[in-house]
Symmetry: C2
């Protein structure tokens, strides 16, 4: 029984991982369920055993993607060997290196799906909105720590600084993905740390 549950979990996770890769490359509308099943080597008909609909499948993918990204973000932002500002910069350099390693393709699934799906699916929009706000709040906690330590002296609230950071980074990733170079990320890092988080 336990082994059976483990297999089921594996199949579900395989579908989610494959779907995530495909949606990162091709978006939601252009990713077919059959394509996910074929790429996962899972028999047709199994899909609806695990997911009620393509929309619910995308919800599971968004949560899985967010889990991976949140772990990375939390790990970098809780590194006590670095100051809060250094940690924020480490996060940018880490994300930039990842994007450059994949030749500025794919970008961020949250950003991609939010542009494509926010007006088409209220279920997905709410999920994406939740993830965006959560990321901003995680960044805000680190910015607040920097303010407490007087590493940032700006009187602007940590919430606003994080909102700006988060949106501007998302825009820089979008631009890098489109022009296929990382100039926008380099400029973000330079101006965000020299002019805003001061």
């Amino acid at each position: 029984m336990e082994a059976q549950i483990a297999v089921k979990q594996d199949t579900k996770t395989t579908l989610i991982k494959t779907g995530m890769d495909l949606m990162l490359q091709k978006g939601y509308s252009n990713t077919g369920i059959q394509e996910v099943l074929t790429a996962s080597n899972v028999p047709k008909g199994s899909f609806y055993h695990y997911f009620d609909s393509k929309e619910q499948f995308a919800v599971a993918i968004i949560r899985y993607f967010d889990q991976i990204c949140s772990e990375d973000l939390q790990q970098i932002l809780s590194n006590r060997e670095r100051s809060p500002i250094e940690r924020l910069r480490d996060y940018c350099e880490y994300s930039k290196a990842n994007l450059v390693a994949q030749e500025c393709s794919k970008g961020c699934l949250i950003g991609n799906l939010s542009q494509e799906m926010s007006d088409q699916s209220e279920v997905l929009r709410k999920e994406l909105s939740f993830v965006m706000n959560k990321r901003r709040d995680t960044l805000a906690a680190c910015i607040e720590e920097a303010q407490r330590l007087k590493e940032i002296r700006s009187s602007t609230s940590a919430h606003k600084l994080a909102e700006f950071f988060s949106a501007a980074w998302g825009g820089a990733v979008m631009m890098a993905k489109t022009v296929k170079n990382s100039e926008s990320l380099d400029v973000f890092i330079e101006l965000m740390f020299n002019n805003v988080l001061i």
Copy 2:
């Protein structure tokens, strides 16, 4: 003959306008040619008289959208009754008002399609990349004017400031579209003009 050409031009423009509205709402993949023809009241079969493919149709839509946006941007940025910094702020307030008027839906077609299509169509990616760079250069010219007039004293190049402005605004629009409020745009305006363009 002239009348016939005029009708043809009208039909082509009708198809482009209808396609633009649909792609703004639903993205590229989810917009069907048949749907565009039905909404435009144009007979089936006419489409390929005007466009070689859906991809070429999207190129025409991107150019049309860019033409409208560039005219708005140029008009605001060439207003001699306002200083360069005031003009940049006017542009943000104008764009924000447009987005709020449509309840933060649709967003920017260039941003939307760049996230969805940059890795799927090299033809569309190049077109979107061209528009993004052109917009940045238009903003840079206004920022340079502000620097010449000592309205901006930052020693950062106008090119970099415009790259940051452009990417961050795109990200703020993306966030507003997802969370369905304009907080990210308000924060952009506050921090961009108080901390960056100084």
